[in-house]
């Protein structure tokens, strides 16, 4: 059984009279420890798919299993707990809490677990070290560069040690150099820590980091056209 399995998944948004169907009967399997890259034109449903896998949205049809758990069967509260334990989400913008320091931002997910203060401290420092920002722990987000903010966001995503990382254009707001740092970080998390990563990107260079690439178009998959 694959780590992530979507079978016949359809997602519809209704806005008044207008019905948008970003995902139509999608079937997909992603193995554990893959670095899966999702490509596709704007509006093709990439973020929608990512949100379903992340358990922050629910499909109208089809089944969705992650790590053997059928997400559709979980109550909203249980799904929250599932996310706390299994998911790290990296957004296009860092989405840090502006009034908390880098350290406190990284610590946020740990508040959901019964951990001692010392253990929380240890884990936050480890996560900050992993993203190379140990010396910025006391900085507020506005005192950090965009790339550093995104690395803090990655530290926040991995601090509770979830098996799955989903990243929605994580380098979309970054310059080339910062993007490379973030991508190298994701590579390491995939290879050394065996995280399963699902990443959406528009950037071919970023896509090259993936172990597998798929293109979503008008709610359906097609394989990537060979680049020449």
């Amino acid at each position: 059984m694959a780590f992530i399995e979507l079978a016949g998944v359809t997602k519809t948004y209704t806005k008044g009279e207008v019905e948008v169907v970003p995902l139509r009967d999608v079937t997909l399997a992603i193995e554990a420890h893959e670095f899966f890259v999702l490509l596709g034109p704007s509006g093709s449903g990439k973020t929608t798919l990512l949100n379903l896998i992340a358990g922050i949205d629910r499909p109208q049809q089809g089944t969705l299993r992650v790590g053997g758990v059928e997400l559709g069967k979980l109550s909203s509260g249980r799904l929250s707990d599932w996310r706390a334990e299994n998911l790290g989400y990296v957004f296009q913008s860092a989405n840090l809490v502006p009034v908390l320091t880098a350290y406190e931002n990284v610590e946020l997910p740990l508040g959901l677990f019964p951990l001692s203060r010392a253990e929380r401290h240890r884990r936050v420092l480890l996560a900050l070290e992993a993203v190379g920002l140990s010396d910025r722990a006391a900085h507020l987000p506005r005192q950090l560069s965009g790339g550093q903010e995104q690395r803090v966001a990655i530290a926040r995503a991995i601090v509770a040690d979830p098996p799955l990382l989903v990243c929605d254009e994580p380098t979309g707001n970054l310059d080339h150099e910062s993007a490379e740092v973030v991508l190298a970080l994701l590579d390491r998390l995939n290879q050394e820590r065996k995280k399963t990563i699902v990443m959406v990107t528009h950037d071919p260079r970023a896509a090259a980091h993936g172990t597998r690439r798929m293109v979503l178009d008008k709610g359906r998959f097609r394989p990537e056209e060979p680049t020449r």
Binding site: I56, S80, R83, L87, Y89, V99, E104, L112
Partner: protein, 379 residues
């Protein structure tokens, strides 16, 4: 977990907005607490334990102590009425008869009888000195604190100049706001032609159940005398004397209610803005695994913190004003002080926190149940 850290940091996000809200809540709570303290003070004034066993004989159709003159010799006539245990002639002198702030009430009575009748307990000073000195005075504890008086001090007011011989505690709160002197001393301060008169008689009776009968008998016996009397149980007397104040306080209740409404509106406005600004952030929290209830708690916590800070500030301000401004509202010779007691503090805290919670309930509920994806999409 770090709910407190998060909420307090969030309030620092817009420091000016937070400050203004807290100041607004504090002002409303100050007013609330002042009204409630005065109300508590009035309740205390009417709650004396000896009130039930005491009748007050007053000049008929007179309300202000300044206009009630009864011949001192009535004392023996009243003492003869069956059921009467003792009669204390009392001369009252006050700074102002109408309701006013910072009232000063003097009561003069024969010292020995005074000490026998009233349940006074000396806090400091010397009873013998009071009895020996013709200008000696005993000062109620509350008045002494308000005016910073101690034994040995002189206290001057109008034509009165007395020697503080002691400070006392009383079983009847009203008396703690008064100055007690010798009857003769106060009589000499008044007009010459009123030398042999007193303002009222305090009559102790054997059985409170017979109060009405005894009062009627006293008035009957003095109906044909030169100054007819009106005798009532002390509680009824106090209630009449403070009726203006109670009218004002009934209006004050509405003020207090309006204060709670102000707290509600202020906190609701601030929380609403704060939640609207953070829709996306709440989406991020939910993505991290925060349950809706935690988001609700976060918003409610913020409102509670606003309410609590405002209430604390308002209470502190009320305390400072009551302590430093010597406030005591007198009405027809009954001094009523602002009583900032535990019950008032509790009611203030409850009102502020309750209003804050109520104000935040709807925004909190909405923030908690908003769809994550929709939250994340918002700017």
């Amino acid at each position: 977990m770090r709910l407190v850290l998060l909420t307090s940091r969030n309030l620092k996000r817009r420091p000016l907005r937070t400050l203004l809200t807290v100041l607004g809540v504090a002002s409303a709570m100050l007013l609330f607490v002042l009204v409630e303290s005065l109300s508590a003070g009035l309740d205390a004034a009417l709650s004396g334990s000896a009130a039930a066993r005491t009748l007050i004989v007053y000049r008929q159709n007179r309300y202000c102590p300044q206009t009630s003159f009864l011949p001192e010799r009535y004392q023996r006539l009243i003492a003869d009425v069956p059921g009467v245990l003792s009669v204390l002639p009392v001369k009252v002198f006050l700074s102002n008869c109408r309701a006013s702030l910072d009232i000063v009430v003097f009561q003069g009575a024969p010292p020995a009888e005074l000490l026998k009748t009233r349940e006074l307990e000396l806090v400091s000073g010397d009873l013998a000195r009071f009895e020996d000195q013709s200008d000696g005075a005993l000062v109620g504890r509350e008045f002494a604190t308000r005016r910073r008086l101690a034994p040995g001090d002189r206290f001057r007011f109008g034509g009165i100049d007395v020697n503080v011989a002691g400070v006392f505690r009383s079983s009847e709160p009203v008396e703690e706001g008064m100055v007690l002197t010798h009857l003769e001393y106060l009589q000499r301060v008044g007009p010459v032609d009123r030398l042999g008169t007193v303002t009222q008689f305090e009559v102790k009776i054997d059985d409170p159940a017979h109060g009405q009968d005894i009062a009627r008998e006293i008035d009957a016996r003095l109906r044909t005398a030169e100054e007819p009397t009106d005798t009532r149980p002390k509680l009824a007397f106090l209630e009449t004397a403070t009726r203006d104040l109670r009218e004002i306080l009934r209006f004050g209740r509405w003020l207090a209610l309006a204060c709670v409404a102000v707290v509600l509106a202020l906190v609701a406005n601030t929380v609403l803005m704060s939640v609207q600004e953070r829709v996306k952030e709440f989406g991020v929290f939910r993505t991290l695994g925060y349950r809706p209830s935690r988001v609700v708690a976060l918003v409610l916590g913020e409102a509670l913190l606003l309410g609590a800070s405002g209430a604390t500030l308002g209470l502190a301000a009320a305390l400072v004003i009551i302590r430093t401004q010597h406030l005591s509202i007198g009405s027809e010779g009954v001094p009523v002080s602002f009583l900032l007691c535990g019950a008032v503090v509790a009611r203030g805290a409850l009102a502020a926190l309750g209003a804050a919670l109520l104000a935040a309930a709807l925004p909190a509920w909405n923030a908690g149940r908003r769809e994550i994806v929709a939250s994340l999409r918002s700017a």
